[in-house]
C-alpha cells in the first residue's frame, strides 16, 4: 500500500491541500469515515454531530465513541478532506479513513452470531437449572419425570441451535482425521443429551440436561470473549491501514489532479509534493529534490534525485516537488513485490502450537480413553448397558474442558485489554504466549529506536551570528534538517537574523541577503565545504568568511534508553541491527550502551541474522519498522512494529506500538510472562478439579448436582484467576 501523505499518522492526510479543480474520487456509496482519536465525552459527540449534520451535502452523520470514528452519509461531492478541516476547526484531531479497508462488518457479524447463541444457551440453561434444582431437592416419580420432560423440551432445541459452532469445528477436525478441543466437547454434549433422553423415557433418576446446557454456555462465553478481543484488534489494525488513503496527484494537461492510486497507469506523470511518499515506481521527469530512503534501507542520509533517477514506491520526497513518470504501478511496484516475499516467509510462523492446542493434544485422547474404559469396565462388571452409558456420559461431562475453554481466552482478553490501554495492539492470537518466551530482543535503529527525526549535535560550536543566520534561513524551509535547526535554535532562545530575499533552491539549500552579503544554508558541496567523516551535514555560510558544518544525529525515541537498560536487567540479550552507516550506528549503540550491534545490514542479512539466532535456540523478539525489516520481522519468533511503520512491516508483525513511546515493549514482555503463568495456572486448576471429580464419576457416584457444582466452580475460579492479569500496575 503506498500513500501520498506522510508516514506519520500524527500528520493529517487531509492537510495536503487538494487543488480547487480536483475531480472528486467516486466512492461507491459516498460513505465517509473519519477517525477522531481525541474524542472522549458526550459534549464531543454532540459538537461533532451538530457540526457535521449542518454541513451542506451531508444526509446523516453519527459518531461512534467506542471506535472513535464518525460515519458520514454524504453526497458524492463532499470530500473527506473538507470534513477533516471542518472538524479541526472545531478543535478535534481528525483523520480521513479509507472505507474500502475497513470491512469489520464480517468480524462483527461473527461476534453477534456468537452472542445470540450465548443468549439462547444462557436462557435455556437458567430455566433448566431451575427445574433441576427442584429435582435435586427431592422431587420424585411423576413430578421428576414431568420436570425432566420439560427440561428435554427446552434443552434439545437450545443445544441444537447454540452448540452448532462446536459441532461444526469438531466435524471439520474429524473429517481430516484430527482431534481438537471441540471433539470431546461435542461428544460430551451429545452423549449427555442422548443418555438423559433415554433416562427420561425410562423415568430414571439422573438427567444431565442442565450440565449439557451450562457447558455450552460457559464454552460459548469463552469463544465470544476470544472473538471480541480479536475483532477489536483487527479493527484497530485496519484503522491504521485505512489512515493511509491511497491518493496521488496525476499531472493531466499540466495540472495536478487528485486520483486514487488504483487508477494510476504505467507512463502517467505523477507529482510528488515535498513530504509526500512516492505512490509508484518511476523515473524523475522534472524537478530536483532530496529523497529519504530510510524506510527501505535504514540509511538516514537523504539522497539527491534529479531528472533520470529511478525512485521506488515508498520513498519520501523531502524538499522540492518531483514529477515522476510511472514505470510500475500497484502490485508491480518494488514495495509490493517485497511485501509479497514476506507473505511467503509468513508460512514458517505456523510451526508454533499454542498452549491451548498443546493441552488439547494431551487432553482429548485421554478423556476419550478414560470414558471408554469406564464404559467398558461397567459394561463387563454389571452387564447393564444403561448404567455403563450413564457413567461414560458422567465422565465426559465432568472432564469436559469447560475451564480449558475459558482458561486461554479469559487470560488473553484481560492481558490484551491491559496492553491496549498502554498503546500496544496485539494482532495475532498466540503472540502473547510467544512473547513470554523471548530471551533476545533485536532492534532496528532508524525509525524504531530513533524517531527518524534529525537533531543538531554541534550547535555549541557555532558563533551567535552563525546561529541567528542559520535559524532565519531554516525557519522558512520545510526540509527536515532545516526544521531540526529551527527547533534547536528556538529551544536555545536564539533570535533569527534579519534577512532579505530568502530563496529556497530545492536539492541544494536556502540563500538570502544579510547586510549586503549573501548567506547560505544547505548541502556542503553546494557551499563548498568538505565535511570530515560521513555524518549527515549541512553547511552555514553566514557571510563572515568562515563556513561551518552542522552535524546531525538521529533523535532517539522516547523511552529507548530505559527500555534497553530494563531489558538488560531482565537478563534479555539486546542486539541492534541497522542498514545505516557504520559510524552512525556505532555512535548510537555507544550512546544507548548496546554491546552487540551490526551496521550496513541488507534486508536479507537481517533475516539471516535472526534465523541464525533462532538456529542457536534463541527466542527472538524483533522490533522494526522499515521495509528492510519485514523479512526479519517474519523470521523472528515474535515481532513488534511502531504504528508509523510501512503497511507491509505492520502486516508482518504480531504487535503494533500505537504511541511514540517505546516503553510498552518492556511492559508487554512482563504482561505476556504473567499471562502465560496464569494460563498454566488455569490448566493446573482445571486438572485438580478433574483429579477430584473423575474418580467419583468413574465410581458411578457423580450425580448431575456434583457435575454442575464441579463445572461451575472450576469455570468461575479460572475466570477470576484470569482477571488478576488486568489489575496490579
Amino acid at each position: 500500500m503506498t500513500l501520498l501523505a506522510s508516514s506519520s499518522p500524527a500528520v493529517c492526510p487531509g492537510c495536503i491541500a487538494a487543488p480547487k479543480d480536483a475531480v472528486p474520487t467516486t466512492l461507491p456509496d459516498a460513505r465517509l469515515i473519519v477517525s477522531l482519536p481525541t474524542i472522549h465525552c458526550q459534549a464531543c459527540i454532540a459538537k461533532i454531530e451538530i457540526a457535521l449534520n449542518q454541513y451542506p451535502g451531508i444526509t446523516n452523520a453519527r459518531v461512534n465513541l467506542t471506535q472513535k470514528r464518525a460515519l458520514i452519509d454524504a453526497a458524492p461531492e463532499v470530500k473527506a478532506s473538507e470534513l477533516v478541516s471542518l472538524l479541526e476547526a472545531e478543535g478535534f484531531e481528525a483523520h480521513e479513513l479509507d472505507p474500502g479497508v475497513l470491512n469489520d462488518t464480517a468480524t462483527h457479524a461473527a461476534g453477534r452470531d456468537l452472542l445470540m447463541r450465548l443468549a439462547v444457551a444462557g436462557f435455556a440453561s437458567m430455566n433448566v437449572m431451575l427445574l433441576s434444582v427442584a429435582v435435586w431437592s427431592g422431587a420424585t416419580d411423576v413430578t421428576r419425570d414431568l420436570f425432566h420432560w420439560i427440561s428435554a423440551a427446552i434443552a434439545v432445541p437450545a443445544i441444537a441451535f447454540s452448540a452448532q459452532p462446536f459441532f461444526r469445528n469438531a466435524w471439520v477436525a474429524l473429517r481430516v482425521g484430527r482431534l481438537n478441543m471441540d471433539v470431546p466437547i461435542t461428544l460430551a454434549i451429545l452423549l449427555a443429551v442422548a443418555t438423559s433422553l433415554w433416562e427420561t423415557m425410562l423415568s430414571g433418576h439422573h438427567a444431565y440436561f442442565d450440565a449439557a446446557l451450562t457447558l455450552t454456555f460457559f464454552l460459548l462465553a469463552g469463544r465470544w470473549l476470544d472473538a471480541r478481543a480479536r475483532s477489536a484488534a483487527r479493527s484497530a489494525a485496519e484503522e491504521l491501514t485505512a489512515l493511509e488513503v491511497p491518493r496521488a496527484f496525476r499531472v493531466e494537461a499540466g495540472e495536478p489532479v487528485e486520483v486514487s492510486v488504483a487508477n494510476l497507469k504505467v507512463g502517467d506523470l505523477i507529482l510528488v509534493r515535498p513530504g509526500g511518499r512516492a505512490p509508484v515506481d518511476g523515473v524523475v521527469a522534472h524537478g530536483r529534490s532530496e529523497v529519504d530512503r530510510s524506510m527501505l534501507t535504514g540509511e538516514t542520509r537523504p539522497e539527491v534525485y534529479s531528472v533520470g533517477h529511478e525512485i521506488s514506491a515508498g520513498e519520501v520526497n523531502l524538499t522540492g516537488p518531483l514529477t515522476l513518470r510511472a514505470t510500475a504501478v500497484g502490485q508491480d511496484t518494488s514495495l509490493q513485490r517485497m511485501a509479497a516475499l514476506v507473505a511467503i516467509a509468513e508460512s514458517g510462523r505456523s510451526r508454533y502450537t499454542s498452549l491451548a492446542d498443546r493441552a488439547a493434544k494431551l487432553y482429548a485422547p485421554g478423556v476419550h480413553i478414560l470414558s471408554a474404559l469406564a464404559f467398558l469396565g461397567w459394561l463387563i462388571w454389571s452387564g447393564d448397558l444403561r448404567v455403563a452409558l450413564n457413567i461414560a456420559a458422567a465422565v465426559l461431562i465432568i472432564t469436559c474442558p469447560c475451564a480449558l475453554g475459558l482458561a486461554v481466552p479469559a487470560v488473553t482478553t484481560a492481558a490484551s485489554g491491559r496492553l491496549f490501554g498502554r498503546g500496544l495492539l496485539i494482532k495475532k492470537a498466540t503472540a502473547l504466549e510467544r512473547l513470554a518466551e523471548v530471551d533476545t530482543v533485536v532492534f532496528d535503529k532508524t525509525g524504531t529506536l530513533t524517531t527518524g527525526k534529525p537533531r543538531v549535535s554541534n550547535w555549541e560550536e557555532l558563533t551567535s551570528l552563525q546561529r541567528s543566520v542559520a535559524y532565519a534561513l531554516a525557519k522558512n524551509s520545510s526540509h527536515p534538517l532545516s526544521r531540526a535547526v529551527a527547533r534547536k535554535a528556538a529551544s536555545c532562545g536564539c533570535q533569527p537574523a534579519r534577512l532579505t530575499g530568502i530563496v529556497e533552491k530545492p536539492g541544494f539549500g536556502s540563500q538570502a541577503v544579510s547586510d549586503g552579503k549573501i548567506v547560505r544554508l544547505g548541502r556542503p558541496d553546494w557551499i563548498g565545504a568538505h565535511p570530515k567523516g560521513d555524518e549527515v551535514c549541512a553547511t552555514v555560510d553566514a557571510g563572515d568568511g568562515a563556513i561551518v558544518n552542522l552535524v546531525f544525529e538521529d533523535d532517539e525515541r522516547l523511552g529507548a534508553p530505559e527500555v534497553i537498560s530494563t531489558l538488560k536487567d531482565l537478563g534479555i540479550h539486546v542486539v541492534l541491527l541497522s542498514g545505516d552507516r557504520m559510524s552512525a550506528v556505532s555512535k548510537f549503540a555507544k550512546q544507548l550502551k548496546v554491546e552487540e550491534w551490526h551496521a550496513a545490514m541488507l534486508p536479507s542479512a537481517k533475516a539471516q541474522f535472526v534465523d541464525a539466532l533462532r538456529g542457536r535456540g534463541r527466542r527472538v523478539l524483533m522490533v522494526g519498522d522499515g521495509l528492510n525489516d519485514t523479512a526479519a520481522l517474519t523470521t523472528a519468533h515474535v515481532s513488534i512494529s511502531p504504528a508509523q511503520a510501512l503497511d507491509a512491516a505492520r502486516a508482518a508483525s504480531d504487535m503494533v506500538l500505537l504511541g511514540q513511546d517505546l516503553s510498552p515493549v518492556v511492559e508487554a514482555i512482563l504482561v505476556a510472562r504473567q499471562a502465560t503463568k496464569r494460563i498454566k495456572e488455569n490448566f493446573r486448576i482445571a486438572t485438580i478439579y478433574n483429579i477430584i471429580a473423575v474418580p467419583l464419576a468413574v465410581a458411578g457416584l457423580a450425580t448431575p448436582l456434583i457435575a454442575a457444582v464441579a463445572m461451575s466452580m472450576s469455570s468461575v475460579t479460572v475466570s477470576l484467576n484470569a482477571l488478576r492479569v488486568r489489575g496490579r500496575g
Partner: protein, 52 residues
Amino acid sequence: MNVLAFLIPISLILGGLGLVGFLYTLRARQYEDLEGDSRRILTKTWDDHPKP
C-alpha cells in the same frame, strides 16, 4: 401441585420474552457503540422530543 401447570409456562414465557427482547436489541445493532450510548443519555438535545 396443580399450580405448576401455570407457574412453569409463565416462567418460561417471561424468560422467553427477555430472550426475544435481547435478540431484538442485538439485531437492531444496539451493542455497536456501548460507550457512546452510555454518554448520549447525558446530553439534553433530544430531551423534549425524540430525534425525527
